[in-house]
């Protein structure tokens, strides 16, 4: 478990984060929502230990991360927005090897990690390819593999789909969901559609945490969604409207559950 306890960051007159708390249990998918400039990226960097908060503490599996040595820090991985800027080498497998090489692992150990990481993200068959030949979604999955090769217990995805096309977004989100079965995932986004499968959801606005709870709870709070500046997909708007008309919408919200609910509504109307 990673726990952020009352984190503040920034100067007196310009506070980027104000006493923010959040926890990422292992094996869970946690979504962090918020608009541009809400402080999401700062929070991500503090969680990873890249920047030090002005006050508050980050506790990783019971130990304060400021006291943890280097090898231990590989326990938390982070994937950024632009896949292009995270890939070091021009050949797929060589790039995945970059992290383990830094850890001075033996050659067979590196090979084992490259193989398992690339297989997890579904790029093993493309291992000899040039990075330049990959699609956006594949590049971002390669960036994920590069992090997986460090064997992290937690991974932060900082708007990891923002620059991708719908196909790429789908690939990366699915990879993260699959990973969350074994590692703790913090998924940062302003697109509510990507947070629907989360185990719990947090919302940040101007440096303050304005919500934490379950997804259905969040969806019932239109005021909070508005404040958090999230992009509300049509599916959610429809589900809300249907519920207001007294129709049950099955959870999770999918095309099927929405279709079932609309059919119910239309038969209700015709009676």
């Amino acid at each position: 478990m990673i726990e952020l306890k009352q984190i503040s960051y920034g100067l007196e007159d310009r506070q980027i984060l104000r006493s923010v708390s959040l926890s990422i249990p292992s094996g869970k998918f946690i979504a962090l929502m918020g608009g541009n400039g809400a402080g999401k990226t700062t929070l991500a960097k503090i969680t990873k230990g890249l920047i030090v908060p002005s006050s508050g503490s980050v506790v990783l599996d019971g130990r304060d991360i400021s006291s943890i040595e280097r090898e231990y820090q590989t326990k938390v991985g982070i994937v950024f927005q632009n896949p292009e800027n995270q890939i070091v080498s021009s050949i797929v497998e060589e790039d995945v090897a970059f992290g383990p090489e830094n850890l001075s692992l033996s050659s067979p150990e590196i090979a084992a990690r490259v193989e398992s990481s690339l297989k997890t993200v579904g790029l093993w068959d493309l291992r000899h390819r040039s990075v330049q030949a990959l699609s956006g979604g594949q590049k971002q999955r390669l960036a994920i593999a590069g992090i997986l090769a460090l064997r992290p217990s937690y991974i932060i995805f900082d708007e990891a789909t923002a620059l991708l096309d719908p196909v790429g977004k789908h690939e990366v989100l699915n990879t993260a969901l699959e990973l969350s079965k074994s590692v703790g995932v913090l998924w940062i986004t302003h697109d509510l559609r990507e947070a629907l499968m989360a185990d719990s959801i947090y919302a940040l606005r101007e440096g303050e945490m304005i919500f934490s709870g379950s997804v259905p709870e969040f969806l019932s709070r239109g005021d909070i969604m508005e404040k958090a500046n999230v992009v509300i997909p049509d599916e959610i708007t429809l589900a809300q409207e249907l519920m207001q008309r007294g129709v049950r919408v099955d959870w999770p919200i999918t095309k099927e559950s929405l279709l079932k609910a609309t059919m119910l509504l239309s038969s209700k109307m015709s009676h």
Partner: protein, 271 residues
């Protein structure tokens, strides 16, 4: 024409040939020997030996011939220029005339020889880059330069810089292309004298620099996240083994070198 067509980085053409499988180090040594031999020699006999070796390498590489001819086309102008320059200006005896232009005997022969040298240089390095992936090439140079570490040359860092440069040159070329188009849409018209042209490039160069700096910043963080610490010993993913092929290549190079030295006095260029 797009920027990426102008930026010619030795293209790697994987074909799985015996040359592809050989270690970069032996191929670099062989290429160096061949180039030095071609440049030191004044003898057509040596050139004949070298071109025979080249033809052999091209066949063995199993890279399509049209790929080689494409790289030859790129330097054809240069070769022709060298030839004409020599043929017209060197010597007194006229070999033949085309209209008012007199081709001199001595110059024509030297011109042919220089042209052959240039072609040889291009083809031999194309064989190297076509059969060796950029990453392997960087690694190979790294190994060969390793002894320089004794006099405090940062060979390891140099090799990492090469890897990153190879990775980002095509990315930045794409970027430059995009920026050029965007400014063209805003009325940029690259005409005028040299001074005006240079001035007009400012709106392309500044955004390109901004983007490169942003990439560098992102990449530095991404590398830190993946455990990179400058100066700390890194291990290698692929420790290439010194195989019989490499021994063959080195032995052959030595034999070729001896043959060139032996033949250095035959069929000299000068009269």
């Amino acid at each position: 024409m797009a920027f990426k067509d102008v930026v010619v980085v030795g293209q790697y053409i994987p074909s799985g040939s015996i040359l592809h499988k050989a270690r970069a180090e032996s191929k670099i040594i062989m290429t160096l020997i061949l180039i030095i031999a071609a440049f030191l020699s004044q003898s057509f006999a040596v050139m004949a030996v070298l071109f025979t070796v080249l033809a052999f390498l091209m066949v063995v590489s199993r890279v399509p011939l049209r790929f080689y001819s494409r790289s030859a086309r790129a330097v054809l102008i240069l070769v022709l220029f060298t030839f004409v320059f020599n043929a017209l200006l060197t010597g007194q005896n006229v070999l033949f005339r085309i209209g008012p232009i007199a081709f001199k005997t001595e110059g024509t022969i030297t011109g042919v020889f220089f042209g052959l040298r240039l072609f040889f240089l291009i083809f031999v390095s194309t064989v190297l880059t076509a059969t060796t992936s950029p990453v392997d090439l960087a690694d190979g140079l790294n190994t060969l330069l390793k002894p320089l570490e004794a006099i405090k040359v940062p060979v390891e860092e140099f090799s990492l810089i090469m890897t990153i440069a190879l990775r980002f040159i095509p990315v930045l070329a794409d970027e430059a292309d995009r920026i050029l188009k965007a400014q063209k849409a805003r009325g940029l018209n690259l005409t005028g004298n040299l001074f005006e042209k240079v001035q007009k490039l400012v709106p392309i160069i500044i955004p390109l620099f901004v983007s490169a700096f942003m990439k560098a910043e992102d990449l530095a963080v991404a590398m830190e996240v993946r455990g990179y610490l400058p100066g700390v010993k890194r291990t290698k993913y692929k420790v290439a083994k010194f195989a019989a092929t490499d021994l063959g290549i080195l032995a052959a190079s030595a034999i070729i070198l001896c043959a060139c030295i032996y033949l250095r006095g035959y069929w000299l260029v000068t009269w």
